[in-house]
């Protein structure tokens, strides 16, 4: 059987190709963006991909997820992970794609040890912190990513802990090292300590994330009707952080409060950027993104923000 290496071979000089093909990726929370990401890394030729998402497939899941075919017979009663698993296997027979069932917050530290990369989406603030911590507890470095799209905006967070890598500079290979904060550490950096021009999207996402945390609602389900509550939280957070409320415009928050509907072009873009980052991190070559990436289709900018001490 012919295996397809594709992108994996691109990144790595042939002597290192096996790194990608031995890597194990865990993905939690599959919507459009994560479907795109999974497609990208399966095509590239990772060793294995484990999907966790026990939500049952419904009409809405179809909207931006091309891994789900709208054939009633095919998805009756199956979970998102199961349906996506079947589709993903077709892209590259050499990649082991499988499903893990259960509540990810209950999985122990030893579960995460099996993986080199963990990507989570559609996660509450509490869950993000929890899983991030479990990854950090391991002696083995497990790269941790969160990815979320709200409407026409997307956010990626990266935690590579203590990361050593190499890159080419003027004919030479130079060794580099970066220290990443955990998600919790990053978002704890006081807002007034951040550079002046930090993307407004960072703050907006934190406000809505905070709102969902307080309300105990499912991530990504906050709607425009909740705007008053969100604005109230914004006021509180801005006061605590000595930040002017105008830094988090109403118009921006409104655009993000569209519930769970997704915007396919943004899913493709964010899924692509995330795919590139994960592959770079596995191979240990090339500057990784540190530590947040934001995209807003309205202005078309894809920005990197370094939110750390």
């Amino acid at each position: 059987m012919i295996a397809k290496l594709g992108f994996g071979v691109l990144m790595l000089k042939e002597g290192n190709f096996h790194i990608l093909s031995k890597s194990h990726i865990l993905v939690y929370g599959i919507k459009g963006t994560v479907a795109e990401f999974c497609k990208n890394i399966v095509l590239a030729g990772v060793g294995s991909l484990t999907l966790v998402d026990d939500r049952v497939v419904n009409e809405e899941a179809l909207s931006a997820n091309f891994l789900i075919l709208p054939d009633d017979n095919l998805f009756q009663g199956k979970t998102l992970a199961e349906v996506c698993c079947d589709s993903l296997k077709e892209f590259n027979p050499m990649v082991r794609v499988s499903v893990e069932k259960g509540d990810i917050s209950t999985f122990g530290v030893e579960f995460f040890e099996k993986f080199d990369v963990v990507v989570i989406s559609c996660c509450s603030l509490a869950k993000k912190k929890l899983i991030n911590q479990k990854c950090r507890k391991l002696s083995k470095r497990v790269a941790f990513y969160t990815v979320d799209c709200r409407g026409s905006c997307g956010e990626i967070f990266v935690d590579l802990q203590n990361y050593k890598y190499s890159k080419k500079k003027l004919e030479e290979n130079i060794d580099c090292q970066l220290e990443y904060p955990s998600f919790e550490e990053a978002i704890s950096v006081p807002w007034r300590a951040l550079p002046r021009r930090v993307s407004k999207l960072y703050f907006a996402m934190r406000v809505i994330e905070g709102f969902e945390d307080v309300e105990g609602s499912n991530p990504g389900e906050t709607l425009i009707a909740d705007l008053p509550g969100v604005l109230k939280l914004r006021k509180e957070l801005c006061e605590t952080n000595s930040l002017n409320e105008s830094q988090i415009p109403n118009a921006l928050l409104e655009r993000l409060l569209i519930g769970t509907r997704e915007y396919p072009p943004v899913c493709a873009i964010i899924g692509g950027i995330l795919g590139q980052e994960v592959i770079k991190a596995i191979s240990g070559k090339g500057d990784p993104l540190k530590n947040f990436f934001f995209f807003d289709a309205m202005d078309g900018k894809g920005l990197i923000e370094d939110i750390s001490e």
Binding site: K4, L10, E14, L43, L69, K169, A268, G272, F293
Partner: protein, 649 residues
């Protein structure tokens, strides 16, 4: 998020996609998910094995079938109720004329060659249909929007020569030296010295997926085999046997020059080990080099076929003799002298076989080091950006049209950088009305020179018609009468001043391509002398004013040293300049002097640039790009990146 206005525009839109390859598959998927309901897609290619790892709509069972049709079927499974019309055809065909293009609300390109892009550009201008262009090179990519009269057309800025090579060009039908280099480096060198677990397509012809496993024995070095025997065996297999196999497929060579098989016994009849007493001396030095051992001193010399063959065999011998431990783990490194020698020799022998001019080691090294390969995720990102622009176009949100650049290294924190489009270049050959002039020696230059070098190469016309006043000097067409064809053929060989309707100083020639609905007048000015070096064509076309280019910003983004060594970007018919590879062809300088951004135009302001240097102008206009001085990663070329595949162990 798509507003009501956007959703309704999307629903009612009729969209044309040109290209169903890397970008095309991603684009079709995203368009369908975004709610588009009437999509037409043109692509002339069939699916090849090497496409499968990136063009995700295709499966092994689809190999050999039309890309456009299979892509359509795959996406219909996800969105059964939309209409996707595939055309397995070349977009240059006459049925895709202006009337055809007029039917669409927007045209989206996902092409990989300059010719087709220029052609589509002209048709979109003639039909007055918005065009969203795109391109990717490695990690770089860009999406641009073109509206007639409002923004630059695709050809307003000069484009460097194209740099992506389809699979079959490398494996079967090379026509340029660079194709031979890619073959020698990424197929042959990789096969002989690289990781054995990477199965590669050295023996596979485009649709011949089944054969790949059969010939793996040929390249294996057999224990205790005489090295020279081994070398000759490889030589004969790739330059002799494989060529004979390729020749047996008549269809491939219908419109192409046939290659000739080359066998080592014909080029080097005597055993090298008996001939060359110097070989043992080569062992003394640290630098293992075939050139040194053969006494070839000058890397700028172009070796003969015989010399190349000697280098080929000697380099192979030295690898096995002196660097045996590395075999199986080697990757090509342009600073590895022996590797460069081997690749140069192999490329030259292949070039010789195909009638392509040979090159020196020096030149070959430059080319081998500059090749950039495509990256799958960039296509997905670009596809998303294309759809975003397409939607803006459909709702006529002209203030928000953007050219978006996808960068490999962030510039001012940005990986995705939007830039406002520029107004049309007033001197653009294609979309402006500026009269063109041609300086030429009308007694020396022939009509043929004019047609090849100016009309076809510079003006990009495929089926030109050349008139002086009412008389037709030359035309191409299917239904021409025989006597006219003869007259035109004769005209081609005449000097301009000797044509039936003489062309001299002051004459105005009209050149047209009816299919592209593209027509220009050219004023002829006679000039006696031309500088052989600077004006090798003996003709100078003007009226096209190049945008002033800041010298420091001449580097394409993300590409430092390697491009500063690159040959000039101008596409030229001369064989020497044919080897141009400017990797980041479409992602070039962004901010240049005198053009104004659209927003300035609409406000009626004209920034006064007269006193400013290029640098300052750039600052005023938009973010300056930081160019990292980083060497390219060695990667694989577009459309064939998985000619190397992993075999199950």
């Amino acid at each position: 998020m798509a507003s009501q206005e956007q959703l309704s525009a999307i629903k009612g839109a009729k969209v044309l996609m040109v290209g169903a390859g890397g970008i095309g598959c991603e684009l079709l998927k995203t368009l369908a998910l975004s709610g588009f309901q009437d999509i037409h897609i043109i692509d002339m290619d069939t699916i090849e094995v090497s496409n499968l790892n990136r063009q995700f709509l295709f499966r092994q069972s689809h190999v050999g079938q039309s890309k456009a049709k299979v892509a359509r079927d795959a996406v219909l499974r996800v969105r059964p109720n939309i209409s996707i019309t595939p055309y397995h055809a070349n977009v240059k065909e006459s049925r895709f004329n202006v009337d055809f293009f007029k039917e669409f609300d927007v045209v989206l390109n996902g092409l990989d060659n300059l010719d087709a892009r220029r052609h589509v550009n002209r048709l979109c201008l003639a039909a007055d249909v918005p065009l969203v262009e795109s391109g990717t090179t490695g990690f770089l990519g860009q999406v641009t929007v073109h509206l007639k009269g409002k923004t630059e057309c695709y050809e307003c800025q000069p484009k460097p020569a194209p740099k992506t090579y389809p699979v079959c060009t490398i494996t079967s039908t090379p026509s340029k030296f660079v194709h031979c280099i890619v073959w020698a480096k990424d197929l042959l060198f990789a096969k002989l010295f690289g990781d054995k677990n990477l199965e590669n397509d050295l023996n596979v012809h485009s649709n011949d997926a089944a054969n790949s496993s059969e010939h793996s024995d040929v390249f294996e070095y057999r224990k205790d085999e005489d090295i020279e025997e081994y070398g000759r065996r490889i030589y004969d297999h790739v330059f002799g046997h494989n060529i004979e196999v390729a020749l047996s497929n008549e269809e491939t060579w219908k419109n192409r020059n046939k290659p000739r098989p080359i066998y080592s016994k014909d080029v080097l009849p005597e055993k090298l080990s008996e001939q060359n007493g110097n070989m043992e001396k080569g062992c003394v030095t640290d630098d293992v080099s075939a050139m040194a051992s053969l006494g070839l001193k000058n890397p700028q010399d172009v070796w003969s076929l015989g010399e190349n063959s000697r280098v080929f065999l000697e380099a192979l011998r030295l690898f096995f003799l002196k660097r045996e431990k590395e075999i199986g783990n080697l990757t090509f490194d342009k600073d590895d002298q022996l590797a460069v020698e081997f690749v140069t020799a192999a490329a030259n022998i292949r070039a010789s076989s195909f009638g392509i001019p040979l090159h020196s080691l020096f030149e070959a090294k430059g080319i081998a080091g500059n090749i950039v390969h495509a990256v799958a995720t960039t296509n997905a990102i670009i596809a998303g950006l294309i759809v975003i622009e397409a939607i803006k176009v459909l709702i006529k949100d002209s203030n928000n049209y953007r050219m978006t650049y996808c960068l490999e290294h962030p510039s001012r924190k940005m990986l995705l950088m939007p830039v406002e489009p520029y107004e049309p270049n007033k001197s653009c050959y294609v979309c402006s009305e500026t009269p063109l002039s041609l300086e030429v020696n009308t007694h020396r230059s022939k009509l043929r020179d004019f047609v090849e070098k100016i009309v076809k190469a510079k003006l990009g016309m495929n089926f030109p018609l050349i008139m002086q006043g009412a008389s037709i000097l030359y035309e191409v067409g299917e239904d021409l009468e025989e006597d006219m064809v003869a007259i035109y053929a004769a005209n081609l060989e005449k000097a301009l001043s000797e044509l039936p309707s003489p062309v001299t100083s002051g004459t105005v020639l009209t050149v047209e391509d009816l299919q592209q609905e593209f027509s220009r007048n050219i004023n002829i000015k006679h000039r006696e002398e031309f500088d052989e070096e600077k004006e090798p064509d003996g003709m100078l076309l003007s009226g096209w004013v190049e945008p002033p280019v800041d010298k420091d910003k001449n580097k394409p983004i993300g590409n430092g040293e390697s491009t500063s060594n690159a040959l000039p970007a101008e596409e030229s018919l001369e064989a020497k300049k044919d080897v141009t590879i400017q990797e980041i062809s479409e992602v070039t300088e962004i901010a240049t002097g005198t053009k104004r951004k659209l927003s300035e135009v609409s406000k009626g302001t004209t920034p006064d640039h007269s006193g400013l240097s290029d640098e300052t102008r750039n600052h005023n206009q938009l973010e300056k790009l930081d160019v990292d001085d980083e060497d390219d990663e060695l990667m694989i070329s577009d459309d064939w990146e998985s000619l190397t595949k992993k075999k199950r162990l």
